[in-house]
Structures are given as C-alpha cells and as structure tokens.
C-alpha cells in the first residue's frame, strides 16, 4: 500500500446525551474506534446507510466534528499533523490543505454572492492572496479547471443548473490548493446524466491536481465506478475495507453482502432476494452489544452478541473484515 495521507488510529467521536449529577453521562457513539489508512493519491470510498457515521467520520478528519478519542494523522510531505491535538495556527494551515464539497449544490451557495465572490471567499478569508488581481487570476484558473464558463463568473448562482452549481462548489473547495478533499454525497442530488459528468470531472481533477479524495456515498454503484478503495461502515464502526474490485467481487462481511444484494438490478429477471435484511438500523444512542450488526445479521451466532469482532486481515493482506465468522461464510 502507498504511504497514507490520512491515518486513523482508533478514532472516536462521542456526543454527550444530557447530563447526570452522579455517575457517567450517557454518550452517543457516532464513531467508535475506527482505524484506517487513506493512501495518498487515492479515491477512497466510504459507504454505509443513514446513521452509519460516514459523514461524521469525514467531518472529524476535517476537524469539523470533535474528536473524543484516538488519533488522526495527516502527512502530505510538507507537514505532519496530529489532528486530534492541533494548535490554532496549525489548524489554520490545515484548513487550506483539506476541504469539503457538500451534497446539495442549491443550499451550499449564497444567492447574494456572484460566482466569482463565492469561489474567491476562501482565499480572502484565509488571506492567501495579496491583491485583487492575484485573487482573480487564481479564481479564473480554478474555474477553468472545473470547466466553468468564465463569462459566468459575474452571475449569481440562481442562474445555474444543478450540475453547474456543483462545479462552482468544487471550484470553491479547490481554490486554496488542498491536498485532501472530502466529497460528502456530492453527486447524490444530481440526475444520472449530470452525475456522470461531475464524477468524470472529479476523477480528472484528482490526477491533474494530485488530490486525495474521501468520497462519501450511499450509492454503491457510483462508488464501484470511481473509487480505488472502499470502507463499509455500520453504526459508527468499520465492518470491512478492501480495494474496490476485491470488495465487490468477494465481499466477506454479511452486512456488505446484504448491501450489495439490495441494489436493484437493471435485469428484471435478477431478483436476488437471497440476503434481504430484516428491520432497520438500531439507534446509535443504544447500539447492540457485541457485534453491532448481530441484531440484523442472517448468520449471527451466540458469540456475536457478546464480544466485539476486531478488524482481521485476510490472506491477501489488503482485505480487512470485522466479523467473528467471516472465514466460515466464504
């Protein structure tokens, strides 16, 4: 595996639920001891259903959600940061190195600012340019890379379609020259024909600008097409992680298998109902003991409700899975 740009070691994000006079206050474990490496230059997919903690994990790495335990290292060759303990001056520097692209391009852009001002704002806030000319030059450069019509920089966002707005959001995220970009459901709100366009754009920007992407999505077909690695989350924990082809060809965790079989096939005769999951994701405020998936797992055994499975590495040394019995279900 290549050197990791981001390396998580038992990273946790816990939110307190109310206060208690005596004893320990209950906590909501949004992320519980997640360890993974995001290789430099990779398109790293993070999948899971609502409430799995995928968004929180992305935000914790960006220091936009509070890290309550564990470590997150960021090393891009120029700097070496421990994100859990980053002093203010270094946090400012980190902000220009790591950026976020949001889901909804309609909500993410201020209707009162021109496209030029929207894209320029991060540069101005962080004081990265010295003159208006320099800012303009930088905005035009990144707008062109994102295939925006430069004539449009003077317009307001309402004049644009969903796909064009998402290109504006991407330009804003990339204007500070980040090395690491979190794309949180960045194509979920788009129609398929536009989705394909934005995915192609992200891939070409990745190689042009030498970026590392954390691509958060609930859509496994999209992830299968664009990502190099995929990590699957369930209720705040990592259940499986592997190179994309390997994961889709040989899923090992029962949850991953169920997720893959739930994708509606384009072939009407392929009704694949073998692994339908019963029920819904339990509340993260009161997760099941032992393996968090055991309440919905079709192959759960007694041990699953008692001990938490650790992430084990398969023979190929790249495929990791957190299940007590994964070897028995191959």
């Amino acid at each position: 595996m290549m050197t990791p740009l981001v390396s998580l070691d038992k990273l946790s994000v816990h939110y307190p639920l109310g206060r208690r006079l005596l004893g320990k206050a209950p906590v909501l474990k949004a992320i519980d001891e997640v360890s993974l490496d995001i290789p430099k230059g990779s398109f790293f997919g993070l999948v899971g259903e609502s409430g799995s903690g995928k968004t929180t994990l992305g935000r914790a790495i960006l220091r936009a959600a509070p890290i309550s335990g564990g470590h997150a290292k960021y090393r891009d060759g120029e700097v070496d940061y421990d994100l859990a303990e980053l002093p203010k001056d270094k946090l400012r520097d980190f902000r220009k190195r790591a950026q976020l692209i949001f889901q909804d391009p309609y909500a993410a852009l201020s209707p009162r600012m021109t496209v030029r001002d929207i894209i320029a704002e991060p540069l101005e806030v962080m004081g990265l340019t010295k003159s208006r000319e320099e800012t303009d030059a930088r905005v035009r450069e990144i707008a062109a890379k994102c295939r925006l019509n430069l004539e449009h920089l003077r317009r307001f966002p309402h004049a644009f379609s969903g796909g064009q707005r998402q290109r504006i959001s991407i330009a804003r995220a990339l204007v500070t020259g980040p090395k690491f970009v979190v794309a949180d459901e960045s194509v979920a709100a788009l129609d398929v024909s536009i989705q394909a366009d934005i995915l192609n754009l992200l891939k070409s920007l990745q190689s042009d600008l030498d970026l590392t992407f954390l691509f958060i999505s609930h859509d496994l077909s999209v992830v299968a097409h664009v990502c190099d690695y995929v990590a699957v989350m369930y209720l705040g924990t990592l259940v499986e992680i592997a190179p994309t082809r390997e994961l889709f060809a040989r899923p090992k965790h029962p949850y991953t298998k169920a997720l893959l079989s739930a994708i509606p096939s384009l072939d009407p005769d392929d009704t694949n109902q073998a692994q339908r999951l019963e029920g819904e994701v339990p509340s993260p405020a009161n997760p099941p003991a032992g393996c968090r998936f055991h309440t919905r797992c079709p192959v759960a055994q007694a041990a699953c409700s008692q001990s938490v499975p650790s992430l084990e590495t398969g023979e190929d040394e790249v495929h990791r899975v957190a299940c007590h019995f994964w070897k028995e279900h191959l």
Binding site: D191, L199, F248, A262, I263, P264, L266
Partner: protein, 335 residues
Amino acid sequence: MSTPLISVKDLTIRFQTDEGLITAVEDVAFDIAPGEVLGLVGESGSGKSVTAKALMQLNAGNTRYDPASHIMLNAPGHAPLDVLSLKHERDMILIRGGAISMIFQEPMASFAPAITVGDQMVEQLLLHSDMNRKRAREIAIEMLDRVGISEPAKRFAQYAFEFSGGMRQRAMIAMALSTKPKLLIADEPTTALDVTIQAQVIDLMKDLVAEFGMGILFITHDLGVIAQTADRVAVMYLGRIVETGAVRPVISRPAHPYTQGLLKALPRLDDLDAPLVPVPGDIPSPLERPPGCVFHTRCDRAIQGVCDQQVPGRTTVEDGHTARCFDLTKTSEVA
C-alpha cells in the same frame, strides 16, 4: 385487451407564470390496466410529477390543461369518468383517496405532525366509506399489520416522528391502500430510503399488487428500481414521452437516443470498466423549449432541418415498444 383502468390521451399541461405560459407536459398518452405497474422515468424537470398530479387534479391553480386533454378513469363498478371534467373541489373526493391514492417521496412531510398516524388513517376511511369509527380503527390496524409494522395497535396511537423512515413509508402505503384504491400513484416512494429498506418496500409493493390487483403508476429516476418493479416503462424528457414499452426490451434494447444516453450515464455493477458517459449539454430552461424534437439540442444524431423543425411521431420499434425519433436505425444493444 381488457379496458384500461386509466387512459390518458393527448395530455398537455401548461402553467401560467409571470414569465409567460410554460409547457410542462405535451401530448402525453398512456394506459394502465388493473394489476399493471407502469414505471415513469425521467430526470428532474421532465414533467413526471406534473403528469401524475394531473390524474388527481392536484396541480396548482395556475395550471392550464389543453382542451384536447383527456384522462378517463374506468373504475370497476363505476361509470367511466373524465377526471379533467371535474370542476368543483367537492367532486374530487371521487378520485382523491377514492379511486386513486398517492404516496410521496418524503413520508415525514406527508403526515400531519400533531395528529397520530392512526387518527389520520381513520379520518380518510370515514370520509370515503360509511363505516363507523370502531370499524375504521380495526381496518387501519389491520393494514398497518399487513405492511409489516410490528405491534400495530401501539403504532396506531403514535405520531409520525416516533416512526423510523422505512416504517413511515410503510404506514404511508398502508394509509393509501386502506380505502382500496383502483390506482396507486407512487412518486419516488423509495428515493429517500436506504437500499436495504428500499428493497423491503419494493418487495412489499410487489406483494400488494398481487394481492389487491390495483394498477400502479410508479415514478422514479432510478432505472434499477423500474427494472425490479414495473411491467412497462415510459421514459419522459422535457414533458414528452420519448420511448415506451415493456421493461425488458426498453432497458436491454433502448431505441431513443435519450434512453440510450441515460443508460450509458448509469454506473453499472455488472461492468465496472464501462466509462460513465454523460448526456451532453444541460437540460434547456422551460422558457426556451426547443422546437421540433425536444431532445435535438443534446442529441448527437440530430438531423439539421428535420429534428429542429418537426415533432417526431410515435414509431413502433418492435411489438408494443415505441419511440419518438426520426433516426431509429441505431438501436444500441445494451447488455
């Protein structure tokens, strides 16, 4: 062929706006037979929701239906009814929640937050039948049980916020079906749900079609969901049905360049090496509706002087499979 349950002919819908008259739906025609699921696919702005709402006259006050438009409802045991001829709100009870029910994408927004789910179910049963409150309550609980909600009597007394997303959508379906509609309109019913829950809801809807024998108009942008639920499919672009037919031939041998484009843009799990090819260009603004074939501005097969001037008629590609295009020679085989 048996009489269709609903027959839509020459449906043209325009909206009166400050910027002028906007055409949202043009010359749309389709039939749905009892027990049949028709999938309506299209991207945002294609007019699929406007079409569905017209069946229940739910479009806003600035809607203008073209005089040639007809929506004939043939509910068994009732005289045929032209939906668009209903002019008064008091007549709408015949269709809204009576012969036709609708389920929506966002079930949280569709339930009143301050009234229990059970009371909302009872209310409509009382409106649409002469049963008493006690009997309505029994039927509501029975329906909640039927859609797979555990402890239905307890859930009956709860509010929508106490339900999870998947359960709310099940309750929505239970409510829509409790009055035994002949036609169910499902507008993106699984879009807001996770895939594992989506799979459960799709299974449930298939079971219910088999059990109740109603017709379903299933609106979605997801071709995979269509393949798994619908018998026939109609593909809409900018207010027009560009291609229609049985699900298998339309998805495996799409004839219209737009349908072909949609399938090429779709990430497929059975071919991870296939490049994702976007449909070129952007969807035109409704104020600048292209003359001729509505798709010609984005079509790589557009013939100058033909496609930008004449509206293509319906051409039969194979039995029951039609498309509106002047160049149907290139039917691409998509595996």
